[in-house]
């Protein structure tokens, strides 16, 4: 045993492990949560981090305070006190204040999140929203749990005596360390209340809209034909090229040259293009080749809003790639769980190309 231990060099990860694909949603170090709906459609939510949630919390604190003051003033000034003739005005105001304070303190978040689709006023302003971790809307039960447990999230309380040496204010100051630590150690930035209720906070904001790409230079099309037909771009490169093409209109020429050269220069050398080709033009040609010149194999329906009939959209396909040749290959294949989509124009979808 021991001898075999020393026979070869110890192999570390990179020698025998597959390279990590950072573009796949499983490995991406970004702030998205992938939801799969029962219709088998996958989409991503952007998760809200502490820097959106703390302002929302502070706004809510302010709103609660203002609501409390407003009710106090309204009760004191209005004739509501006359409704209870058996109580003195002073006692009525006292009762209303205490009860208002209690209900606003504990049930503000519960009420708003239940009746306003997972939003409070603070969340509405910082454009975030609470949903279940499985993507479904939040229920009254979840809203109650996550709001009741806020107290534990604000723990530990700190005395301000450490800051103000002599005249410390008489109240304890919540540090919120529990919530912050919890957010750091969970993948969806969940605080303790979120963990207990099974909720997460996502961004509800208009995403950056990719603008229409303008390829104004007439040489783009001819340059794209110079690129060898067998040259295939990787997914990450397609992404980089598309991002560049969509944003280049906002950049001055010098900046375009500088940025595009990073990707274009080594590629052009590899493809044997002339060195004095503009790197900006080259990336535009790549974009043109990928998104403009290539036809896509669909028959588009006539109206814009209906899109493609849903029967074509079955995303259940064999993604395992070519089947291994084995003795089992002679037997009949198992029946498909879902029919293969009908591909117009008689084209075949090669195995493994589907997401």
């Amino acid at each position: 045993m021991l001898a075999s231990f020393y026979t070869g060099p110890i192999q570390f990860g990179p020698l025998n492990s597959v390279p990590i694909d950072l573009m796949s949603p499983r490995n991406a170090i970004d702030l998205t949560a992938t939801i799969t709906t029962p219709e088998n459609i996958q989409f991503e939510y952007r998760i809200a981090g502490p820097f959106r949630r703390i302002p929302a919390f502070l706004v809510d604190l302010l709103v609660r305070f203002i609501a409390f003051l407003a009710i106090f003033v309204a009760v004191a000034c209005s004739g509501i006190t006359q409704l209870f003739p058996f109580l003195s005005q002073f006692a009525t105001i006292g009762v209303v204040i205490l009860l208002t304070y209690f209900f606003i303190d504990w049930f503000y978040g519960v009420f708003f999140e239940t009746y306003w689709n997972g939003r409070t006023i603070g969340k509405w302003i910082s454009k975030i929203q609470v949903i279940s971790v499985d993507g479904r809307p939040i229920s009254a039960y979840q809203a109650t749990i996550r709001n009741f447990l806020r107290l534990a999230d604000l723990a530990p309380m700190m005395s301000l005596a450490a800051i103000f040496a002599n005249d410390a204010p008489p109240f304890l100051f919540p540090t919120g360390l529990v919530a912050i630590l919890c957010m750091v150690f969970t993948t969806r930035f969940q605080r303790l209340g979120d963990l207990a209720a099974g909720t997460m906070v996502v961004v509800d904001e208009r995403a950056w809209v990719p603008p229409k790409v303008k390829l104004e230079d007439p040489r783009v099309a001819s340059l794209s034909e110079l690129i060898p037909a067998n040259f295939m771009m990787s997914r990450s490169m397609v992404r980089a090229v598309a991002l560049y093409a969509e944003r280049r209109m906002r950049m001055p020429m010098a900046r375009r040259m500088e940025l595009s050269a990073i990707l274009a220069a080594p590629l052009m050398a590899q493809l044997g293009l002339r060195e004095d080709t503009s790197p900006d033009l080259f990336l535009c040609a790549l974009y043109y080749r990928e998104f403009v010149a290539k036809p896509i194999a669909i028959t588009d329906s006539t109206s814009v809003d209906v899109g493609i009939p849903i029967s074509q959209a079955t995303p259940v396909l064999d993604t395992a790639g070519p089947k291994p040749v084995s003795h089992e290959s002679t037997s009949t294949p198992p029946p498909d769980l879902a029919p293969y989509p009908q591909i117009p124009n008689g084209q075949q979808i090669p195995n493994g190309e589907y997401p």
Binding site: A91, R119, L149, L151, R206, V238
Partner: protein, 332 residues
């Protein structure tokens, strides 16, 4: 058909969906959308979903794909909105789910033993002045004893103003303490500390006031008799709910810790709701009945009736039916 043409055709629908989402997240969403709007929204949502599902086939640029992900996510959360309170179920919840949750939860027994055990012990130690001198005085402190004796020096009387203000104060103050006990449950220690602290201080006060030489004792017991049943049970129950939450981290019953925590939160909610209801009942009793100059017999009768009602609620309504008792786990 090329990608650019497709984008050109789709873009309009996507933008319309986006602006509808914007509209519905604003205050105008309080107004119910018309049937036509809902249909249009659903059609646009389905179209965007289809585009997303076919993205690979349609050769959409990755940035457009990102945009579609966000758009579909937004539309999804507007289409499927939060559930309101299920008002049709409240009868079942209050008279079946809640008492059963309390009766079947071992945490209720544990905190019951801790609370009433510490309470009785402190009361005994504080009462037996000869055997344990200075116990009550040490626990309560001079100021608190003076305040306690002072407030019960005069016989009970009051007017409606005082009663109403006191009831409101107790609702706010005591229920908040109970909810804090629950909320600190996931951290376990603060919740148990709060429970033990309340048990010992309350017990010591009871024991001290029960000493024969304390003049204010009679008035004190006349005051606490009526609401004691509700309030002491409520304190114990709110700590039980907190303990149930905290135990979820430790006793997982084969689940992952996070899942066990989530399951225990689901079990703890009915218990804390019972506690809140009891706190509010106790506050009304403490506000209106306890300080009133009613004869002691009435107050004692109230205590007996409230205790029997609680017994009925927890034991008769909470007793598990045959089916459930078989499947119920006996482990914590």
């Amino acid at each position: 058909m090329r990608t650019v043409d497709l984008l050109e055709r789709r873009r309009q629908g996507w933008h319309e969906l986006d602006s509808m989402c914007d509209k519905y997240r604003n205050f105008s969403s309080l107004k119910k959308p018309t049937a036509a709007e809902v249909t249009r929204f659903a059609a646009l949502y389905r179209a965007a979903c289809t585009d997303l599902a076919m993205a690979e086939n349609l050769k959409l640029p990755p940035t457009t794909l990102d945009y579609l992900h966000r758009l579909v996510g937004r539309a999804h959360s507007h289409l499927y909105r939060s559930h309101r309170l299920p008002t049709s179920l409240w009868w079942t919840y209050v008279f079946e789910t809640m008492p059963k949750a309390v009766f079947n939860d071992p945490c209720v027994k544990i905190t019951g033993v801790i609370f009433f055990g510490l309470f009785s012990l402190a009361a005994l130690l504080s009462w037996a002045e000869g055997t344990f001198p200075k116990f009550g005085e040490t626990i309560l402190g001079k100021e608190q004893i003076q305040q306690l004796e002072g407030s019960f020096a005069k016989p009970l009387s009051g007017n409606i103003d005082q009663y109403a203000s006191m009831a409101a104060f107790y609702i706010q103050h005591n229920t908040s303490i109970g909810l804090e006990c629950f909320a600190l449950g996931p951290l376990l220690i603060p919740s148990l500390f709060k429970l033990a602290y309340n048990a010992i201080v309350l017990g010591a006060s009871f024991g001290y006031m029960a000493r024969p030489e304390i003049a204010a004792g009679d008035t004190f017991f006349e005051f606490v008799t009526a609401h004691g049943v509700f309030e002491l049970t409520a304190i114990s129950l709110s700590a039980a709910a907190g303990l149930r939450l905290g135990i979820g981290w430790i006793v997982t019953n084969g689940l992952s810790r996070l899942d066990a925590f989530r399951v225990s939160a689901k079990k703890a909610l009915p218990i804390i709701l019972v506690a809140v209801a009891l706190f509010i009942l106790a506050a009304f009793t403490e506000g209106f009945i306890s300080p009133s100059p009613l004869p002691y017999a009435v107050k004692a009768l109230f205590a007996i009736v409230s205790a029997s009602l609680l017994m009925f609620y927890f034991v008769i309504l909470g007793y598990p039916s045959d089916l459930e008792s078989n499947s119920e786990e006996s482990v914590i």
